[in-house]
C-alpha cells in the first residue's frame, strides 16, 4: 500500500486506517465489527437489496455493502435507530414469505433464522401476507420453494457472475417480484442451467435446496464461492 492510498475512517468512534476502494462493510468486517447482512456474500457483487446492513453516515442511513469508504468518514453501526430499522426490515422479510421453520429443510442452518435470533425479533408486528407461491421441482436434483425466497438475488448473481450461465433472474415488479429460470420456464427445461448447484450452496434460506433433504437436513456452503474465485486467481 502506498502512503497516499491510506485513508482514515471512524467506525463507532474507533479510528481505522484502511485503503480507498473498499466498502464500509468490508472494512468493518476486516476490523472485527459485526454488521448483519443477508444479500451480501463474499465473492459476489454487492447490490444492497436486503437493507439489513444499514449504517449511519453523516446523519443518513445507507447500505454499508454498497458505500465505498472515503477519507474522514464517520460511521455508526449500532444506534437504537439503526437497530429499529433492521428489526422492521427483518419483520417485513418474514411477513412477505411463508416461513415454517418447523419443517423446513434449512431449519437450524438458515441465515434468516439466525438473523431473527441476532436481531431479537420476538414477533412480527405487520400482518403476514401468506402468499401462494409456486414450487418448482422439475429439476432432477434441486428444487425451489419460493415461499422461503427472500429475494436476495444471490442465486442470480452466482449463476451470472461465477458460473457464467445466467439461468436465474428476477421477473415482475414490486410485491410480485420473484426469481425465475431462463425466460420463466420450468427449471427442468431451462437449457442454460449447467446443473452445477452453486445456487443451492449460496441461497441463504431453505428456498433452493437439494431434493431429498428433509426437515433440518440441508446444510450449505456459501463460502465455496470465495474459495473458488481464489483458486481461479479471480479475486
Amino acid at each position: 500500500m502506498r502512503e497516499s492510498d491510506v485513508i482514515t475512517i471512524k467506525i463507532d468512534g474507533r479510528p481505522i486506517a484502511t485503503s480507498a476502494g473498499k466498502s464500509v462493510l468490508q472494512v468493518a468486517k476486516e476490523n472485527g465489527i459485526r454488521i448483519p447482512t443477508l444479500c451480501h456474500l463474499d465473492g459476489l457483487s454487492d447490490v444492497g437489496v436486503c437493507r439489513l446492513c444499514l449504517v449511519e453516515i453523516g446523519g443518513k442511513l445507507v447500505t454499508s455493502c454498497t458505500t465505498p469508504v472515503a477519507d474522514g468518514m464517520e460511521v455508526r453501526t449500532d444506534t437504537e435507530e439503526i437497530r429499529q430499522h433492521r428489526r422492521t426490515v427483518l419483520e417485513l422479510i418474514f411477513a412477505e414469505g411463508n416461513h415454517v421453520c418447523a419443517f423446513c429443510p434449512s431449519n437450524g442452518n438458515c441465515e434468516l433464522q439466525d438473523l431473527a435470533c441476532e436481531l431479537g425479533m420476538e414477533e412480527v408486528r405487520v400482518p403476514y401476507s401468506y402468499p401462494r407461491n409456486r414450487i418448482d421441482a422439475t429439476h432432477p436434483r434441486f428444487l425451489i420453494d419460493r415461499d422461503r425466497c427472500v429475494l436476495c438475488g444471490r442465486c442470480v448473481r452466482v449463476c451470472a457472475e461465477v458460473e457464467g450461465a445466467h439461468t436465474w433472474d428476477f421477473a415482475e415488479r414490486g410485491r410480485s417480484v420473484r426469481v425465475i429460470t431462463d425466460l420463466d420456464i420450468d427449471w427442468g427445461d431451462a437449457g442454460s442451467c449447467t446443473d452445477c448447484g452453486k445456487c443451492v450452496e449460496v441461497c441463504p434460506t431453505g428456498a433452493i435446496i437439494r431434493k431429498g433433504a428433509a426437515t433440518a437436513e440441508m446444510e450449505k456452503e456459501p463460502e465455496l464461492v470465495a474459495d473458488l474465485l481464489e483458486r481461479r486467481g479471480d479475486v
Binding site: 421453520c101 435470533c117 420476538e122
Partner: protein
C-alpha cells in the same frame, strides 16, 4: 407469598407446546407450589375465569371463531399473556391453509367420503376463520416464546422469570423458530 394464578390455553396447535411445558421435569415440581393452575387443558375446569389471572400461556394459532372468543376472554382476565410456540407466534403449520377458501378445504377433506349422516356437521362446530392468524393479530401479547415446540429449558427460563415477577429475557438462540 401468594400464589401466582396461572392459566394455559390450547388453540390451533398440536399440544406439543404443552408437552414441552411438562418436559420441564423436576423444575416443574419445584415451581408447583408457587402457582395455582386456574384453567388449562391439563385440568378439568371448563370455563376460562372472568378475571384475576396473573399469567396465561397460549399455545396455538387462531383458526376459528371460538379461538377468537377464548383469546379475547383470556386477554381480558389476565395481567400477562404469553404466546407459547411458533403457531401462536407466527401462525406456523395451521396457517399453511391460508389462501385456500375454508369452504373448499371442508369440501375437500370431509366432502367426498362422508358416509355417516350424509352431511357436514354445522351445529356446535365453530366456524373456521377465512385465514389462520397469529395471536398478536387478534389480541395484545406481552411475551413470545419461540420454537416448535419451544425447548423445555426456554419455557422454564420464561416461567421462572414470570413467577418471580420479572420480564423473561429471551435472547439469541432462545428466539430460534422451529
Amino acid at each position: 407469598m401468594s400464589k401466582i394464578r396461572l392459566a394455559t390455553v390450547w388453540l390451533s396447535g398440536c399440544s406439543g407446546c404443552h408437552m414441552s411445558l411438562l418436559d420441564i421435569d423436576e423444575t416443574l415440581i419445584e415451581l408447583a407450589d408457587r402457582f395455582e393452575l386456574c384453567k388449562s387443558p391439563l385440568t378439568d375446569i371448563k370455563e376460562f375465569p372472568e378475571e384475576g389471572i396473573d399469567v396465561t400461556l397460549i399455545e396455538g394459532a387462531v383458526a376459528n371463531a371460538e379461538h377468537v372468543e377464548i383469546a379475547r376472554k383470556a386477554r381480558k382476565a389476565s395481567k400477562i399473556v404469553v404466546a407459547l410456540g411458533d403457531c401462536a407466534v407466527t401462525g406456523n403449520v395451521p396457517a399453511l391453509r391460508n389462501g385456500i377458501p375454508p369452504e373448499e378445504l371442508i369440501e375437500e377433506i370431509y366432502g367426498p367420503d362422508v358416509t355417516v349422516n350424509g352431511n357436514l356437521p354445522h351445529e356446535g362446530v365453530p366456524r373456521l376463520l377465512a385465514r389462520v392468524r397469529p395471536l398478536n393479530e387478534v389480541i395484545d401479547v406481552d411475551y413470545f416464546i419461540h420454537g416448535c415446540p419451544p425447548p423445555a429449558g426456554v419455557i422454564a427460563k420464561a416461567l421462572v422469570a414470570l413467577l418471580d415477577g420479572r420480564e423473561p429475557q429471551l435472547v439469541g438462540k432462545d428466539l430460534r423458530f422451529g
